[in-house]
């Protein structure tokens, strides 16, 4: 199957080596450690049995008509994206360290960086991070490195997964202070911002749409932050950027996002794609790999990995980050996805999302016992306020109708009460889907 070496090959190879057996080659390993008992199966499956076993497991995940969002979004993935990233040349290559033999991949990285910059209206982008949450953590790390300051302001309505990850990224640095900017009507209370900002503030780090799906006013936040000498770290959903203001337009210093929105499957949380961009003055503070355009010795255009003096394999303990493997194939998916959409497609994608969510909000808030929690504009998800326990309703409707009505927020935001439910509708939801949800709520609240 995967090992081509025959008995005859083995004998010839051992002979060439001058060893009598494989065991002979293992002399440097103390014998007592070799071939221990393992609590593992004595038998293995063949390919067909493996395929069947995996199918059985996949089928044990029972599908539902799902209105879950909260940082991961159901997307239509164009067939061309799937076909192209399945090509063995992309799938089975390593990081393009030998540039001349990897011009294809290097050019795709350059195109990816360019597309991310275009989307976010930023100066430069790296070749990818693990996911939106870790990109957010790394961006705040970069902001404190740049400013040398130790206070970080975060919005109350930041995705709790992002906040948890961010705190983990600073776990060994107790001197950092994380301050929450409270929300008012679901949005960051920008009136409170000036008082919280000070000469000691490294950055204001926020997300838009925020965890409740509402669009934050980047202009206002950015203006207040910059006035106080703090940097701005903005996390924006790339699918929203065909319609809504990109971070660069309100002067964000670092912009990040969850690239799963750009043509990646949900896959229970990964692999996703951390989008990371910044203003050009901070390019040497960027973590991760960067591809750049250059010339070969004949003057012909070519691409290389560049500015590597920031990276762990060169700088070791002085590196900007420890990141090595990134999410290259996911970045390629995003690049191809954006090339298929173009500026018009991106706008249309945004509209398909915003209309689906708007339609859902309108229908669901007409149900007795359900109302919209916040009035501010939203993109593709919103908080519904139910006059019942949202978690219980979710289980009931899931069991009865195979509909996942959304994410109950009680555990994450106790102040919103037991009735708060985060509902998401992307371009994958049809009128019929939403009417099914409406009916289910009507009958089960």
């Amino acid at each position: 199957m995967f090992i081509p070496t025959t008995e005859k090959d083995r004998e010839e190879m051992l002979k060439a080596i001058g060893a009598s057996s494989i065991k002979d080659l293992l002399k440097q390993v103390p014998a007592k450690y070799l071939y221990p008992a393992f609590d593992l199966p004595e038998t293995s499956l063949d390919e067909q049995q493996t395929a069947r076993r995996m199918k059985t497991l996949a089928a044990a995940n029972t599908p539902a008509l799902s209105f879950l969002g909260a940082g991961a979004y159901e997307r239509y993935i164009p067939a061309a994206v799937k076909a192209l990233i399945s090509r063995g040349e992309y799938l089975t290559a390593y990081t393009p360290y030998q540039a001349e033999a990897s011009q294809g991949i290097l050019q795709t990285i350059y195109e990816y960086q360019s597309s991310v910059c275009a989307l976010y209206a930023m100066d430069c982008a790296n070749a990818s991070m693990y996911d939106g949450a870790s990109a957010f953590g790394e961006a705040v790390r970069a902001a404190v490195r740049v400013t040398g300051k130790k206070k970080v302001l975060c919005q109350e309505t930041l995705n709790p997964q992002y906040l948890k990850t961010l705190k983990t990224y600073f776990a060994n640095s107790k001197e950092y202070q994380f301050v929450t900017v409270p929300q008012k009507d679901g949005l960051m209370d920008t009136d409170k911002l000036p008082a919280l900002l000070g000469a000691d503030t490294a950055c204001v780090a926020f997300q838009t749409p925020n965890f409740f799906g509402l669009m934050e006013d980047g202009h206002k936040i950015s203006e207040a932050a910059h006035k106080a000498g703090a940097l701005v770290v903005a996390a924006a959903d790339p699918a929203s950027l065909g319609l809504f203001t990109p971070p660069g337009e309100y002067g964000a210093d670092f912009a990040v996002g969850e690239g799963q929105a750009l043509g990646l499957p949900l896959s229970y949380g990964g692999p996703y794609l951390g989008l990371f961009a910044c203003k050009k003055e901070y390019v040497r503070q960027m973590p991760g790999r960067i591809a750049g355009l250059t010339k070969d010795k004949d003057g012909k255009r070519g691409f290389v990995l560049t500015l590597q003096a920031r990276e762990q394999h060169i700088r070791r303990d002085k590196a900007a980050s420890n990141i090595c493997s990134n999410e290259a194939l996911c970045a390629l998916s995003a690049t191809i996805y954006l090339a298929l959409l173009g500026p018009e497609g991106l706008k249309e994608l945004g509209l398909a999302n915003s209309r689906a969510a708007s339609f859902a909000a309108q229908k669901l808030s007409s149900v007795k016992g359900a109302a919209l929690k916040f009035k501010a504009p939203f993109f593709n998800e919103f908080v519904l306020d139910l006059q019942c326990d949202a978690a219980k309703l979710r289980e009931k409707v899931l069991a009865k109708e195979r509909i996942d009505i959304g994410l109950p927020l009680k555990d994450l935001y106790p102040a919103l009460g037991t009735g708060a439910l985060l509902v998401c509708a992307t371009e994958t939801k049809t009128e019929e889907d939403i009417l099914r949800l409406e009916k289910a709520l009507r009958e089960n609240i």
Binding site: M13, A93, A101, G104, S267, R289, Q312
Partner: protein
């Protein structure tokens, strides 16, 4: 695999590669050497979204985008052709022998791809109810169990997205452990000078002080030097086993013992676990924390640099610190458990790179206990075969048998002519081989680090050896031809200095 074997000179190599008669790679590219944006034609579209429901648009002017993003406008065929063309300008395991040391470029079985793409797995939302996620949870639970058995450890988390991300997770766990013990003095991480750059980078990213120890003359950690650096300040001794010279730390028992007596934990970087899988359980060696890279040992594809998937295994006393959620079995059902008061929290959103983990799981299903040991045995056999065939011409750094990889150096006859490892590496590309890892580990001057992996055949390795021997002769006869290599790639050697001095990172 097939390789074209040039017959001696660079000019011949060009001919053999079937390039236009001018012999200039540039002629091929004249056909189409443009970026996607340069092919853009306003009005073209690759996909449309027609499902626009009747609802009002709620986009206040103050929040609306002002300038459209500069993205290419292309038809679906334009896009498919563009990225198909670029794929052909990329070496890969599928097309080329890729003996990149420390990267374990083994074959990536296709059934794994099919499994991960099953809609039941790929379509599952990470916040789906546990009742809807039983298949994925069972897979993760069983994968963790099998990894525990393989590594001789008691608990595994699969949340980290990659190797370096795992190191980060592992050191967070160590930190949480010492915090719980009330031992705040442990601020140092000891790494040998042969370590991957990620080890010291992770240590300093975590606010620890990395302490470098020198490898002994045989390439191993010198217990005497370790003793000098071990103290009440040592949190973790971080070792790669086998190390980046492809050598097993034979005195690991003594080393782990010393670390433990000093109150420190032993971390094993499992980047080279392909040499030990099914042969040795790291837990038996005294390892407290270790990481795996599914994209190395467990055959998940490298994807041009990622995504990989990591994993951290620990001994029992460290289990309570693992990230949340944990997957538990409660009666007949699998559940996600967030109720872990001592957990370090999260290192990324949601669970981990589950799509990659599904591939690793399929791979494990296809291997019995004995077949797992066969992976390591054949990886070791292949590396020693390459070493024995090459070392007369390319002196090996170590005279002993190696584990899964070997470190060679350029022939003195070539270095005397001013040729470097880089020149040899670039010439290998003309022969259709990806170059080995070069200039690493840093402690070997002009290192050439070769890891064939167990999935390569003797014929392939023989043709690589033949190319390496020919390159030596070419370099001796015509050093300039080697300095000018590669000759058959889409571009010649690239100006990296210009790239760094005047960064051009986007259109």
């Amino acid at each position: 695999m097939t390789t074209h074997t040039p017959t001696g000179t660079a000019k011949d190599a060009v001919k053999d590669a079937g390039l236009p008669s001018s012999g200039k790679a540039a002629d091929i590219d004249k056909l189409d050497n443009r970026l996607s944006i340069e092919k853009s034609d306003p009005g073209r579209r690759g996909i449309a979204f027609k499902n626009l429901l009747k609802a009002k648009d709620n986009i206040p002017a103050g929040l609306a985008r002002k300038t459209a993003p500069k993205l290419p406008e292309l038809s679906e065929l334009d896009v498919v052709r563009h990225y198909t063309r670029l794929s052909k300008m990329t070496f890969s395991v599928d097309a080329n022998f890729y003996p990149l040391g420390s990267c374990t470029m083994k074959y990536n079985p296709r059934v794994n791809e099919e499994a991960a793409a099953l809609e039941g797995f790929a379509g599952l939302h990470p916040l789906a109810h546990d009742d809807s996620s039983q298949g994925t949870l069972e897979m993760l639970y069983d994968l963790e169990k099998r990894l525990c058995a393989l590594c001789g450890l008691d608990a595994f988390t699969l949340q980290p997205a990659a190797g370096a991300h795992s190191e980060f997770t592992g050191l967070l766990i160590a930190k949480a452990y010492f915090e719980k013990l009330g031992d705040g003095a442990r601020t140092e991480i000891i790494c040998p000078d042969s370590a991957h750059g990620t080890n010291p980078a992770t240590a300093s990213m975590m606010g620890f002080t990395p302490v470098n120890i020198k490898s002994g003359p045989d390439g191993r950690v010198d217990p005497a030097d370790l003793k000098v650096h071990l103290s009440g300040k040592t949190a973790v001794v971080m070792l790669t086993i086998p190390n980046t010279l492809g050598i097993f730390e034979s005195r690991i028992e003594e080393i782990a013992d010393m670390a433990h007596k000093a109150g420190a934990l032993v971390y094993m970087d499992g980047a080279n676990f392909n040499a030990l899988i099914g042969l040795v359980k790291p837990g038996d060696l005294g390892v407290d924390i270790m990481h795996i890279n599914t994209h190395k040992t467990f055959s998940t594809p490298h994807g041009g640099g990622g995504p990989g998937a990591g994993g951290i295994g620990v001994k029992k006393r460290l289990e309570e610190f693992l990230p949340v959620p944990r997957v538990i079995k409660d009666g007949g059902a699998y559940k996600t458990d967030y109720n872990r008061p001592h957990s370090i929290g999260k290192v990324k959103a949601f669970f981990g790179n589950v799509g990659v983990l599904a591939r690793a799981y399929a791979y494990l299903l296809m291997h019995s206990k004995k077949e797992l040991a066969g992976i390591a045995e054949n990886a070791i056999l292949n590396a020693n075969y390459m070493k024995s065939r090459l070392e007369a011409v390319y002196p090996a750094h170590s005279k002993e048998y190696c584990m899964h990889e070997c470190v060679l150096t350029p022939p003195a006859e070539l270095t005397a002519k001013g040729l470097k490892t880089l020149d040899i590496a670039k010439r290998l590309l003309d022969y259709g081989f990806h170059a080995p890892t070069i200039y690493f580990p840093l402690i070997v001057h002009e290192a050439i680090m070769i890891e064939p992996t167990e999935t390569e055949s003797k014929e392939t390795m023989d043709s690589f050896v033949e190319a390496m021997l020919k390159i030596k002769n070419e370099g001796a006869a015509d050093p300039q031809a080697l300095k000018d290599a590669p000759h058959t790639m889409p571009v010649k050697r690239l100006d990296e200095v210009q790239a760094a001095r005047q960064p051009n990172l986007r259109w």
